[in-house]
């Protein structure tokens, strides 16, 4: 399908610029203790690539395109699901001290 949104070169640059600032601002103030989970979390976020891969696969017309598309969806799904699981596992463990105990 032809997408309804048409993003021309300049609009794309605006989107990229604003998104880049957003990413910079979010990470800039993060304490070092969260660097590993955050790298993993941002790794999860670019797992959205699976959506693009699904688009490519659904629009595939040859066996070669189907094979590559299948590969893309497989890898993208791994990125998204794996990124989620390990990030969630790490963040689940961060707990403040229990004041009552001490």
């Amino acid at each position: 399908m032809e997408p309804t949104t048409v993003i021309t070169g300049f609009v794309a640059l605006y989107i990229f610029m604003l998104a880049a600032f957003t990413g910079y601002e979010i990470i800039g103030r993060v304490p070092a203790i969260l660097h590993t989970p955050l790298m993993s979390g941002s790794n999860f976020v670019h797992g959205i690539v699976v959506v693009g891969a699904m688009y490519a696969l659904l629009n595939a017309t040859t066996v070669l395109e189907q094979a590559i598309g299948f590969f893309g969806v497989l890898l993208g799904a791994g990125n998204a699901a794996g990124g989620y699981v390990v990030t969630e596992r790490m963040l689940e463990m961060f707990k403040p001290s229990d004041k009552k105990k001490s």
Partner: protein, 475 residues
């Protein structure tokens, strides 16, 4: 409501949830909910992607059923495998697992580019084609490079692989890839033969391997973070090609956040990113080693434990060796005994403790250590002077005073934990080996330093027993 409108709305929602989720992830208090929020965004976007079914191009309609089954199968296998592997991976192996998942994302971005480039129909403008090529190039490098990073950290490839004229070889391969890519985009206008396109991707993958092979294990965290940023950029670029704003935003947010994170890590290791990629630590043992005065003095675990029990302030400097020995639970048990006895205990974390920044915090959190006992290097370094005891467990290079004084040392200039300023230093280590960088540690020869030899877990058990028998027998 048309399927396309639903897709657009879900993409907008997903973009919002990603940014909001990442924002919540930037504080330990809200971090857990942050990943869940972002996860909901992902779920919405992926489910909505099946609506592409209703709007595929005419040419693809005969294949639609097959393609949908293929998509669902790939999704099932990918999610299933990643879920299983992510649940079972040990916390110590987290860096290589992140590298692996990241490489997969890069591969997916490259695959999108490949399908676009193989399409024989459709009008391709020069700009989208160049962007497709760049996205594919970055994605493919991220895929093969991350796989090498994973294999190295996982111990599947040992050592570094360096040859004479490597920079020249890497440079030529990169140039060849670039020329081929520009040919596809600007000369063939996206209608190059599959063989040429295949050659482009093969070269890009080879370059990723060549670029990563010479980089040593200690630098790998920076590389993983760099590839994380690469994948983000690749996803963002392919998002533009597919005219999908959600991919563009998510990709670029990660691209810039990842770049910043890479710079922060490189700075913490006192290296520039270019330095990491283009040159490396010299082979171990080659550099001139200054004469070290003094001798290594051993100490019994029990004596060290009792000394700490009667101290008023103890600072712990843990390293990766602690986690390798799986001693963090025992360590925390010991720390609880100390705090119950009124000793002030703090954990001091070097920015590169563990295998990547923040990794040690994760490993301590796994053992139940509350995050308000854990301090970053710059916050705690001034307190070592007042500490009665500093205990180093499984760390080496991050506490080596040579980084401050010895200009010939490869780690010269790296910020270190000032453990040597404490009144008494104990170092728990297995034997008389050197650190990851292959440098001898002057700290071990200092007058106020004693070494407790042994497996970290056994040492911690001995320490716990010493304090328990003391307190038990005293009443």
């Amino acid at each position: 409501m048309s399927p396309q409108l639903l897709i657009d709305i879900s993409a907008l929602l997903a973009s919002f949830l990603f940014i909001y989720g990442l924002k919540r992830m930037s504080s330990p208090v809200t971090a857990r909910s942050g990943i869940v929020v972002a996860g909901v965004g992902m779920l919405v976007a992926v489910l909505a992607a099946f609506l592409y079914y209703f709007g595929v191009s005419e040419a693809a309609k005969p294949h639609l059923t097959t393609n949908t089954i293929l998509a669902a199968t790939a999704l099932g296998i990918g999610v299933g495998w990643a879920w299983w592997s992510g649940k079972k991976v040990a916390m110590t192996s987290m860096p290589q697992m992140v590298a692996l998942y990241n490489g997969m994302g890069g591969g997916a971005a490259a695959a999108i580019g490949a399908v676009e480039l193989l399409k024989t129909s459709g009008h391709h403008g020069a700009l989208p084609l160049v962007v497709t090529i760049i996205g594919s190039l970055i994605g493919a490098i991220s895929l093969s490079g991350s796989l090498i990073a994973w294999a190295k950290l996982d111990g599947r490839i040992n050592g570094t692989w360096r040859i004479k004229g490597q920079q020249l070889l890497n440079g030529s391969v990169f140039l060849a890839t670039l020329v081929l890519g520009l040919y596809i985009a600007l000369v063939a206008h996206g209608h190059a033969s599959p063989a040429v396109t295949g050659a482009f991707f093969a070269l890009a993958l080879i370059f990723g391997v060549l670029m990563t092979m010479p980089i040593g294990g200690a630098d790998m965290p920076v590389v993983i973070s760099l590839y994380n940023a690469f994948t983000g950029l690749a996803v963002g670029f392919e998002g533009y090609v597919l005219q999908n704003p959600a991919l563009m935003i998510a990709g670029m947010v990660v691209g810039s956040a990842g770049t910043l994170l890479t710079l922060l890590m490189a700075k913490a290791m006192n290296r520039s990113v270019a330095n990491v990629i283009f040159s490396n630590f010299g082979p171990a043992g080659d550099e001139v080693q200054g004469e070290i005065k003094g001798s290594q003095k051993p100490a019994e675990a029990g004596d060290a434990a009792i000394n700490m029990r009667y101290a008023s302030k103890v600072i712990i400097a843990p390293g990766y060796g602690l986690a390798v020995a799986q001693a963090q639970h025992k360590l925390f048990e010991f720390v609880k005994l100390l705090t119950d006895a009124g000793v002030e205990v703090k954990f001091a974390i070097h920015p590169v403790a563990g295998r990547m920044p923040g990794h040690m915090n994760v490993l301590l959190a796994e053992a139940g250590v509350p995050y308000d006992m854990i301090f970053d290097m710059e916050d705690v370094n001034g307190e070592f002077k007042e500490a009665d005891v500093a205990i180093v467990i499984g760390a080496n290079d991050t506490v080596n005073p040579a980084a401050r004084t010895n200009k010939s040392s490869p780690i010269y200039g790296m910020p270190i934990l000032n453990v040597d300023q404490a009144k008494q230093v104990y170092v728990v280590k297995r034997g008389q080996g050197k650190g990851y960088s292959g440098v001898e540690n002057e700290l071990f020869f200092a007058d106020n330093c004693n070494l407790v030899y042994g497996d970290a877990q056994k040492v911690m058990v001995a320490m716990i027993q010493a304090v328990k028998s003391l307190d038990g027998g005293g009443h």
